[in-house]
Symmetry: C2
Subunit: 272 residues, 2 copies
């Protein structure tokens, strides 16, 4: 553990939409929101689909045994945000058929929920996030621009996504959440409603390349996610979570050591 005295974490798991640590990204917003409350562990893997997410999950999520022995942080909440790449068109390397996408999401949920799973973690709240809408023309243009800027000699990129197809994956994630009784942030709908429609011009402020979110796009997601957390999991409201180490003004100047001896968040066994 690099993080003794920080036994709690929130893990963000997914693809490039999760991977970003840019200004205004989900990771940055969550890290600022949970400042000195708990670590934000970002485990986003650009381009990954739900097929590849399963073996990766098994490497980035601590086993039950490790956690019970106190070697692992408690993941109080995990966001699982997949689908944008699964929804590439049939024949594309990232494409995962809709039914398998759904069963993969179920598998990920069950890896955490199922008592017989090596990764069983009953205290981890699970929040799915579905695929946001896309702007088709902007996306294919961005692909072609990238291809040009790399001076690639390969074939000119063509469209590899379709908004209606992505929407089907976004809706499928909602179905999985209902079936599995886990929460979901329906970021598709949140963005479309905030944008006032699904048109390219309406969606433009929320995407920088037709697929990936701008800070404004992440703001819509963050608002929905933080509201969900406060409503459904009030113990994870950062305003009521104990701060790691006392506020400096609460340190007894005559006996400062005492303040730091009271570690509010426990210590991991592995920290010795």
């Amino acid at each position: 553990m690099a993080s003794p005295a920080y036994t709690d974490a929130i893990m963000l798991f997914g693809d490039s939409l999760t991977q970003a640590w840019s200004d205004g990204s989900l990771s940055q917003r969550m890290a600022e929101y949970y400042l000195r409350r708990c670590d934000i562990v970002s485990r986003g893997f650009g381009g990954y689909n739900s097929d590849w997410a399963i073996p990766v999950f098994e490497q980035v999520f601590a086993t039950k045994e490790a956690r019970e022995k106190g070697y692992a942080q408690n993941v109080k909440l995990i966001t699982i945000w997949l689908g944008a790449n699964d929804a590439t068109l049939p024949g594309e390397p990232q494409c995962v058929p809709l039914d398998r996408y759904k069963s993969n999401l179920v598998k990920l949920v069950q890896l955490i929920r199922d008592p017989s799973s090596a990764y069983h973690s009953p205290d981890t709240k699970i929040v799915l996030i579905n695929a946001p809408p896309i702007i088709e023309d902007a996306w294919v243009e961005a692909r072609i621009e990238k291809w040009k800027s790399f001076g690639s000699t390969g074939p000119k990129p063509e469209q590899n996504r379709d908004k209606a197809v992505t929407k089907a994956y976004a809706e499928a994630a909602i179905e999985v959440a209902k079936e599995q009784k886990v929460e979901i942030v329906d970021v598709w709908t949140a963005i479309v409603e905030t944008a006032g429609g699904e048109g390219a011009e309406q969606l433009a402020p929320y995407f920088y390349d037709g697929l990936h979110l701008t800070s404004e796009g992440y703001a819509v997601l963050f608002k929905a996610l933080s509201s969900l957390i406060i409503t459904k999991y009030p113990k994870l409201n950062p305003e009521t979570m104990p701060m790691r180490m006392p506020h400096w003004a609460d340190v007894d100047l005559k006996n400062p050591q005492e303040a730091f001896d009271k570690v509010q968040n426990g210590r991991l066994a592995g920290e010795l």
Copy 2:
């Protein structure tokens, strides 16, 4: 460990200047710079001075024993950024006399360097960062504004800092770095040179309240820190560090599992 397969980390240790996870903060910039290379573990404690930093360090830095048993991430590099609060004027609760500030920095370095220390970590590169300049008028105005906005009935805040005093602490940190043979980012000088002087108007873009850095201020620090890392510790240049999990386009579609079985960064013993 919430972060199996991420055995390496960079720890940012210090006061409020380190604590920030805002857009353009040191933490955000470092997390984006080391995207999928290693975790950025931010351990900033607003208002803390070097006296209080020592017991806190002993709680947030893993012991040698924990690390050797594989329960702890390897902290490849730590930034220690203290002094801004030590330099408050005598009589202020955060004030630490200059000599003790220096000996506290030495103690922190030795906690990592000294083979007999419980926190001995010979592979951890140590980079000190000194206190940046301040804008005295802006700082006392910000204190008064905060006091007003809280509707406080306590005495009106007065000036509790002095630029020349802070400069003495900034210079002291440079002396400690030389004596202890550790690297330092002289952010005082970097900001003054970038600003073109120490005047209030010149420094204004780099501070939002006369003490804490804007994104522009952090940009100066980040440029200096990343240059230092690349020059002095080329193995920690993120461009040459292996990416955690393969690039999606390198996944063998016929045998994807194989790609994920090769964990490039080892596994922690505690992960089981």
